[in-house]
């Protein structure tokens, strides 16, 4: 037993190391690991630890978990240690360290559970939270409990490890015992990013993300910059890392700059520091958030422009594509748990139950294949809503990222099924566009579909979830008494139930053997006539929408009562892209007029209807942005995020409706205007389709179109049952119409066809073609639009290639599947 002398000696050593116990009586020499409350620490914290021995030479090791630094201690005045004693002491210290690490792991695990519980209990963030207001920062991926903000501490797989708490005054604390080192909070999407920013604090990260649009990794404090930088570099070795350091110039040694430079050097990255030149530095600003608060967001943007351009030349846009993770399929961020990691039919073989413990029948009956326990019904609406909410909270809402055209100019922008050629619709467009590879190549495909075509989904590929319905048929329906139910004719009633299903599809880049984009859509060097993108095209679409545009003032808005769009003069916008981004956003609202898509205008800005309309315009802007090459403005719409979250949380079907409506808006603006037409430069209502007797083609044999129905029949004959039907509208053509027009002699003879030969949906298209012929125009957007309609329906002589994978953007005019 050690006497008081050793007790005092070890206490002195602890004092010198800055980790003396508040209660000296805790010191015991028993070879066990003990934790204690360090003097001057917050009450209740037990960051101190020691292991002390008293056999032979009293010795041991102690330290603080807060600093992480262990200190050895050995009683003085005793004889020098023999080699055996030294070895024994070293072994004991190693054992103590191992025990300490083991205990730490247990504590981390317990903290993870607490973090999960707290995170689940937390509410959405009050956008007027004092800290966010003071920092002028949006709440990206944060939650709130009472007045404290919660910031998740995650690893790069998105797993939650701990929480950071920020009180209204800006004080920050971590969850007790939670693991922080090497973990982070990601703003944006790291996957496939060319470059990314790392910084210390949340407000700094939010400012950087807002100003640059780059993905930002918040490391929480400067000591964590290096561990996180290492982890990010390991995962994304091709990505350029930019450490946005704090310039602690008022602190001796400028530790912020020092640690940023150390991290950058370790991972081959670069460092940027805020420049406060010309600003009031009385409050000793140090970080990029201070720069935003002092100089405004434009100043911050301007200060980032050049250094980021040095790293990633196209720094005006998010530096996305192709920094691929070392482990394909492992992505940062949440919301991925819905996605499978293996091809369908294989992933289900893994299960939670130990197969060794499963009796044969149980194994056969496949309870282990269930992803969700029986009785715990999945709500797919909620599932999608949760995913979108999570993305909004983490700053990666699908409409707040660049929706660009595919690199192949002939490829469609909207996600398309590679096997059937059908375009995805509504919510699936939104969901598939959250996967950035859609920007490169819009093609996706189910596992079985790929297999049926001789393609192979790559092993380990992570699929994406889409949602559609199928009909579950119920033959032999019976009432509760077991009596068969009969229909009106007395026949056994056949009923069907629409079932919403989740299904996994894989991107073209994950499928071996799939035709290349060039094979599917022709040479990339040939720009198809129907491609949009140039500024004059944007202008033409805007002008020819028929919207009444007024350029005045400083605010952009749509005036429903007067049915006009007010935009600030063009010169007030920094560049044409910004102008058109705003203009098309307002054009989205314009489509809500009663004479168009009829979405009643909201009356108050703080009403749910207002947020609902704004969400539709946001989504439509994204859809249009993809099609027209408009850069979506990230900043100006941030104020609505809270309102969107509110909407989505209150109604888990809202995102489905919004996606559907947004697609309607985009379609109407782009090329589907069944109720309006241009007359002498003015947009007037197309009140009636062509009357039956109206001629739809007159003149030479060459100008007489083969009938859509006839052509469709020919195409159908060549299609396999599961093959795509590129011209789904043609299904609506009555059989009699098809037969009436299938006479080749009639077609070649130059006899005028009348509108009665067309199914109603085609009469407006025919009217548009005739309008074009009458006006004598052959160029411009209307001409192209007409040719596009012409090709898609098809009303003219040139049939569209039937092969699904070769379908170009002609098919974009057809409604998706």
């Amino acid at each position: 037993m050690a006497d008081g002398q050793y007790h005092r000696a070890v206490l002195d050593a602890m004092h010198r190391a800055g980790c003396a116990p508040a209660d000296p009586a805790v010191i015991v020499f028993d070879g066990q690991l003990h934790r204690f409350w360090i003097k001057d620490d917050r009450r209740g914290r037990r960051n101190g630890w020691f292991v002390l021995y008293d056999d032979g030479v009293p010795a041991g090791v102690f330290g603080s978990w807060r600093t992480g630094q262990p200190h050895r201690w050995r009683a003085e005045g005793k004889e020098a240690l023999t080699p055996e004693q030294r070895q024994q002491l070293n072994q004991r210290i190693a054992d103590a360290r191992a025990r300490r690490e083991a205990e730490k792991r247990v504590q981390h695990q317990q903290a993870r559970v607490r973090a999960e519980n707290l995170w689940a209990r937390a509410q959405r963030v009050d956008s007027d939270h004092p800290y966010l207001r003071q920092k002028q920062a949006p709440a990206l991926g944060l939650r709130q409990i009472k007045k404290r903000l919660l910031m998740p501490v995650r690893d790069l797989d998105g797993a939650l490890h701990s929480l950071a708490f920020i009180n209204p005054e800006g004080e920050k604390r971590f969850l007790t015992d939670g693991a922080v080192e090497g973990h982070c909070h990601v703003l944006g999407d790291l996957y496939r990013a060319h470059a990314m920013l790392l910084c210390e604090g949340y407000a700094t990260g939010a400012s950087l993300h807002q100003a640059s649009g780059w993905p930002v990794v918040v490391c929480f404090h400067r000591a964590n910059l290096l561990p996180v930088a290492r982890a990010v570099h390991r995962r994304y070795p091709d990505a350029a890392l930019v450490i946005a350091g704090d310039d602690d110039r008022y602190t001796p040694g400028n530790p912020g700059r020092r640690d940023a430079e150390e991290a950058a050097e370790e991972v081959g990255g670069s460092v940027i520091l805020p420049d406060f030149a010309g600003l009031d530095t009385a409050k000793k600003p140090t970080d990029f958030n201070d720069l935003q608060v002092l100089g405004g967001l434009p100043r911050l943007k301007a200060s980032l422009q050049r250094p980021l351009a040095d790293v990633w030349p196209d720094s005006a846009r998010s530096p996305e594509t192709p920094a691929r993770p070392v482990e394909p399929g492992r992505r940062a961020g949440r919301g991925l748990d819905r996605e499978t990691t293996e091809p369908e039919g294989e992933h289900d073989r893994d299960h939670d139950l130990n197969p060794m413990l499963i009796p044969p029948v149980l194994a056969m009956a496949a309870p282990a294949r269930r992803k969700a326990p029986l009785g715990a019904h999945s709500n797919l609406y909620q599932e999608v809503t949760d995913r979108i909410v999570e993305m909004i909270e983490s700053g990666t809402a699908p409409w707040r990222r660049p929706w660009d055209r595919p690199r192949h100019p002939g490829a469609p922008t909207r996600p398309v099924n590679a096997a059937t050629g059908k375009f995805y619709n509504g919510i699936n467009v939104l969901l598939l566009h959250t996967h950035l590879m859609t920007l490169d190549d819009p093609r996706w495909c189910g596992y079985e579909q790929a297999k049926a075509r001789g393609w192979q989904v790559k092993a380990g590929a992570r699929g994406a979830s889409i949602y559609f319905f199928k009909r579950l048929e119920i033959d032999d329906a019976r009432d509760p008494d077991g009596e068969p139910l009969l229909d009106e004719d007395g026949a056994p009633l056949k009923r069907s139930l629409p079932l919403l299903r989740r299904h996994t599809v894989f991107h073209a880049s994950q499928i071996e053997g799939i035709p290349t984009l060039e094979e599917a859509y022709g040479p990339a060097s040939v720009l198809p006539d129907h491609c949009w993108g140039a500024e004059d095209h944007l202008e033409a679409v805007l002008r020819r929408s028929g919207a009444h545009l007024v350029h005045e003032g400083r605010i952009a808005y749509y005036h429903p009562r007067e049915d006009r769009i007010v935009l600030p003069p063009r010169e007030r916008f920094p560049d044409p892209a910004a102008y058109y981004g705003v203009a098309f956003h307002e054009l989205g609202h314009w489509t809500g007029h009663a004479t168009r898509l009829h979405r009643p205008p909201p009356t108050r800005r703080d009403s749910p209807e207002y947020a609902r309309e704004e969400l539709r315009a946001e989504l439509a802007s994204a859809f249009l942005g993809a099609e027209l090459g408009i850069q979506h403005d990230l900043e100006s719409h941030a104020a609505y995020l809270d309102a969107y979250l509110d909407l989505l949380r209150k109604d888990h079907r809202e995102i489905f409706r919004a996606a559907r409506d947004a697609q309607g808006i985009a379609d109407l603006i782009l090329d589907r205007h069944p109720t309006w037409q241009l007359r002498q430069g003015a947009c007037v209502a197309r009140t009636d389709p062509l009357p039956d007797e109206a001629p739809i083609a007159v003149g030479t044999a060459d100008s007489i179109p083969p009938h859509a129905g006839a052509l469709h029949d020919e195409q159908n004959q060549s299609n396999e049952p599961n093959e795509p039907n590129e011209h789904a509208e043609a299904d609506a053509i009555p059989q009699a119409d098809r037969q009436a027009s299938a006479d080749p002699v009639r077609e070649k003879a130059g006899v005028a066809e009348t509108a009665s030969a067309l199914a109603p949906p085609f009469r407006w298209a025919a009217a548009a073609l005739l309008e074009l012929e009458r006006s004598g125009e052959d160029g411009g957007e209307l001409g192209r639009l007409s040719r596009r309609i012409d090709t898609a329906l098809p009303m003219r002589a040139t049939p569209v290639a039937a092969a699904p994978v070769s379908m170009g953007r002609q098919g974009a005019a057809a409604p998706g599947g």
Partner: protein, 124 residues
């Protein structure tokens, strides 16, 4: 164990009656599999995808005698099976399994248009 899963199961909202209708045959089959569960049952099909492959003739041939009545009842209740349209029957079987496993949910007819849901024959 399947038994308690079956016992605890209540079918998905919002159309419990219709969902029950759709699943009654499958529930009967699974109940029969539960009943056959035990160490002494000699089943050669220790495959985790038995239910998925249930309509496979090889699976049917290998079923023990005790399971055959339930299997037959279920098969015959599948639209298309009795008329020989095995493809349709297989799809309907897959839908029932998806509903049973919570991978699908019944939706309102009115929602199909309102929510822009599309019907897919092919998966994908």
């Amino acid at each position: 164990m399947l038994k308690h899963h079956l016992k605890d199961r209540d079918f998905p909202a919002p159309h419990p009656l219709d969902a029950q209708d759709a699943l009654v045959g499958l529930a009967g089959l699974i109940a029969a599999l539960d009943a056959a569960d035990g160490p002494n049952v000699d089943l050669p099909l220790e495959r985790p995808d038995l239910l998925d492959q249930f309509l496979d003739p090889a699976v049917q041939d290998a079923l023990p005698e005790a399971l055959r009545p339930a299997a037959e009842t279920y098969r015959d209740g599948l639209p298309g099976y009795r008329s020989g349209d095995r493809k349709r029957a297989a799809k309907q079987h897959a839908l029932r399994l998806a509903l049973w496993r919570g991978e699908a949910q019944v939706v309102d007819e009115a929602d199909l248009e309102a929510l822009g849901l599309t019907e897919e024959i092919d998966d994908g």
